[in-house]
């Protein structure tokens, strides 16, 4: 139940920060997308609104737009940019005014924000809850995900887990590394963590094979990407959009664009998507109380 406690603590912390926030105007730029994705941004906006007291200007970005012109049109001192389109605006203005980016798996790269990459501690807590026998977590990562590994290593140690982290530069090396894992001997207490990494968690090549082999070897696979639970991972992290909005609102108040390095935070608040069929295959049976904490279950 550790994840639940953390969740509550974070909520109250964010709430207090928002109360103390300055009442400054903030522009939120986000993509104008169709359902069901529009709900995500609505929820994030809702979270922002609950944490900011000042005026909030919402700016929807169409699929084609002139980023420079729109950036120039933003008159507020602070900007919260969401999604890839928001990132384009952020790139135009992050050196001039405080900007935080959300709803993207960002890494520290000059622009502050909250990454979609879940906080490893939260993930490990969930792993502990759902697969208590796992003692070793293996993660294969490319440079895109390298920034999270150090934190993950610390958090793993804190949670009593052994984190094996293998750095790769391309998909071929990644696949070989995965193949080596599956060729290993004792896999019963090992879990594979799929980060939000386009190389090591390639949706077309790596993920289906990893999931298939893991199924055969009865290995636990958990993922930072929401959709992977549906595809056969034991669980995956779903961002809590409203809390993400609050996290962004709190971050914008603490960002100083003149100071370096930028602040990139992991997603502290997540929901869980659990594949009950995979769980049953692995021999896990969750009671109704546990299930009540799952935001999504598969097959549904």
């Amino acid at each position: 139940m550790q994840w639940y406690t953390n969740y509550s603590l974070h909520f109250f912390l964010l709430l207090s920060i928002s109360i103390n926030a300055y009442a400054e105007k903030v522009t939120v730029v986000y993509p104008d997308v169709k359902a069901p994705y529009d709900v995500i941004f609505q929820q994030i906006n809702s979270g922002i609104e609950t944490s900011l007291e000042g005026e909030i200007i919402h700016l929807k970005l169409p699929s084609k737009f002139d980023a420079k012109k729109i950036a120039q049109s933003i008159k507020t001192e602070k900007v919260i940019a969401l999604g890839r389109r928001g990132m384009r605006i952020a790139k135009q203005i992050y050196k001039e005014k405080p900007v935080v980016v959300g709803a993207l798996p960002i890494k520290p790269n000059g622009i502050s924000g909250v990454s979609l990459m879940a906080n490893p501690a939260v993930l490990f807590d969930s792993l502990h809850e759902l697969a208590p026998d796992v003692t070793t977590v293996t993660v294969i990562y490319s440079p895109a995900s390298a920034w999270i590994i150090k934190e993950a290593q610390i958090k793993a140690e804190e949670k009593g887990l052994s984190l094996i982290h293998i750095a790769v530069n391309d998909i071929k090396t990644a696949v070989k590394a995965y193949d080596d894992i599956f060729n290993g001997k004792d896999l019963s207490k090992m879990a594979i963590w799929l980060p939000l990494d386009p190389v090591t968690a390639n949706e077309r090549v790596v993920v289906p094979t990893i999931l298939e082999k893991a199924w055969k070897n009865k290995m636990v696979v958990f993922s930072s990407k929401p959709a992977h639970a549906k595809r056969g991972a034991l669980f995956s992290a779903l961002p809590d959009n409203e809390l993400l909005g609050q996290q962004l609102a709190n971050l914008i108040n603490s960002v100083n664009y003149k100071s370096r390095p930028s602040i990139v935070k992991t997603l502290d608040s997540i929901k869980l998507a659990v594949n009950l069929r995979t769980a049953a295959h692995l021999g896990f049976d969750y009671d109704s109380k546990e299930r009540s904490h799952f935001s999504l279950t598969f097959p549904n």
Binding site: G83, P105, K172, P198
Partner: protein, 518 residues
């Protein structure tokens, strides 16, 4: 160029011609349709199999991405076994990016080393033989792609690119394609042949029924032709055949009517002919009677005339003798004239008497064995002085091999004298020749002169009674005009013949032919 086919032969029935033509046309049509269908189906079947082969190859390429990336042959084994499990796949091969062989399963053909090195960007046939296709497709690592909406949550999507990490090759056998194509061809052939046979049968029965009235009409016409009867046809069947039958029947009825009219006309003519014949018979009988009466009258009259003439001649001779004794020569000359004219009158009467006898059938032929020499002596004695009157030369040529003839001597002499005297009369300063010759049956007397001759028209009537060449000449050349007619009758009575050959101013040749023995 005339379009001539044996099926359009006039000796073959229209039914057979139509059936033959239709069967040939349908066969051709079926053949063309069959050919086109077979070609189309085969092409489609080939394309389907090829699509299937492409899908299998591409499926393999998708399944072995992880295996190629991991470099583990074991990982690819399942996918390869699955592919080789397809009926038409005989072999499969995986190549790495540098086209080195990663894994081969099945008997992969090794005669296409060049194609093995073929770099392909997409699935295609790299080698083809009559037995198989070699299909090659790149094994790609594809970037993660989301919908434009979902991509809003991805950061590095733009930087990901498609990457070829190897190649999958599949040997796809054409054996089943050929088998299927053969089956399709066979099926279409069977269907085509069956269709043609069935259509032929249907056509045969249909045309038999359709053309049966036509045949019946033809039979009726044939019967009408053979028997000559005006048989009517039964109007049945199709409209055109009914029209033909109707037209034929109309024609037959018209012919019937014409026949009826002709019969009536013939009967009427026969009646008229009978009437005319009876009239002619009566007329002929009357004419014969009249002729016989005339002849009898002429015979009687001639006889009655001859008696006083002979008395006149006899008394004239007595008076002449008396005058000669008295030396009254003036009167003697007058008496000579009386005597001469009396003689001529007697000759005329004798001729008329002869003719009358001939016509009345009272003259008789007295045939005896006659010496030709004696006849010729008599003729020579009589004709030589006559010939000299007009300064003609008379000659007799004897080319005969027989010396005697069984005939009526008097009549023969009379005929020859008549012909020779005529020759003397119509020839001046010329030549008159009597030539005698014979063959096995006949003795021929040819009298040839160099006189005035006869035209063809004159030749046609000179043997008629009382006809001379013309009245002008009759006056110039004295005569009764009965000589040739009597001569002809005499020759015919002696079973012989007389003929003439002549041209004007070229003389004339009369030939009398008589049988040697009778």
């Amino acid at each position: 160029m005339p379009f001539n086919l044996s099926i359009f032969n006039s000796n073959i029935s229209i039914k057979s011609q139509v059936i033959s033509f239709m069967v040939i046309a349908i066969s051709l049509m079926t053949l063309i349709i069959g050919f086109v269908t077979t070609a189309g189906v085969n092409q489609q079947y080939r394309q389907l199999m090829l699509d299937n082969a492409f899908q299998i190859t591409e499926g393999l390429a998708k399944q072995v991405v992880f295996s190629l990336l991991s470099g583990s042959e074991q990982n690819a084994q399942d996918a390869m076994n699955q592919v080789i499990g397809f009926q038409s796949v005989s072999a499969a091969q995986l190549q790495l990016e540098d086209q080195s062989i990663f894994l081969t399963i099945g008997e992969f053909p090794n005669n296409n080393s060049n194609t093995q090195l073929t770099v392909v960007e997409q699935t295609r046939i790299t080698f083809e033989t009559p037995q198989y296709w070699l299909i090659k497709t790149p094994v790609k690592v594809l970037p993660d792609t989301n919908s434009s909406e979902a991509s809003e949550f991805d950061l590095a999507i733009d930087s990901q690119e498609e990457q070829i990490i190897g190649y999958a090759e599949v040997v796809y056998s054409k054996e089943y394609l050929k088998e299927a194509q053969t089956q399709v061809g066979l099926l279409i052939s069977i269907v085509g042949i069956t269709s043609v046979v069935l259509l032929g049968i249907v056509l045969r029965f249909g045309l038999l029924k359709l053309l049966k009235p036509f045949g019946a009409l033809a039979d009726t016409m044939q019967k009408a032709k053979a028997t000559g009867e005006h048989v009517l046809a039964e109007a049945q069947g199709a409209k055109e055949i009914k029209n033909m039958a109707s037209a034929y029947n109309s024609m037959m009825m018209v012919l019937d009517q014409q026949d009826h009219d002709l019969k009536q006309h013939r009967d009427q003519l026969e009646k008229e002919v009978d009437i005319r014949t009876a009239e002619l018979v009566d007329a002929r009988d009357a004419a014969l009677n009249a002729s016989r009466h005339k002849s009898e009258f002429m015979a009687n009259m001639s006889h009655e005339l001859r008696t006083p003439i002979q008395s006149i001649i006899g008394y004239g001779e007595l008076v002449t003798e008396e005058l000669e004794l008295e030396a009254n020569f003036d009167l003697i000359e007058d008496m000579d004239k009386i005597s001469k004219n009396s003689q001529r009158l007697l000759i005329l009467i004798n001729s008329l008497l002869d003719l009358a006898k001939i016509e009345s059938g009272k003259i008789e032929v007295n045939k005896t064995d006659v010496s030709l020499e004696s006849i010729l002596v008599n003729l020579s004695d009589t004709i030589t002085p006559l010939a000299q009157i007009n300064e003609n030369q008379f000659a007799i040529e004897k080319n005969n091999t027989v010396a005697r003839i069984f005939t009526d001597k008097e009549k023969l002499e009379q005929v020859l004298l008549n012909l020779l005297s005529n020759a003397c009369k119509f020839t001046k300063n010329g030549q008159i020749t009597l030539t005698i010759y014979n063959d096995n049956s006949y003795l021929h007397f040819e009298i040839k002169d160099t006189g005035i001759g006869l035209s063809p028209e004159q030749q046609s009537y000179i043997f008629d009674e009382f006809r001379q060449v013309d009245s002008g000449q009759a006056r110039k050349f004295s005569g009764t005009g009965l000589g040739l007619a009597i001569s002809k009758r005499f020759v015919e009575l002696m079973d012989g013949a007389i003929k003439v050959q002549s041209e004007l101013e070229q003389g004339a040749t009369f030939t009398v032919s008589l049988p040697i023995d009778n």
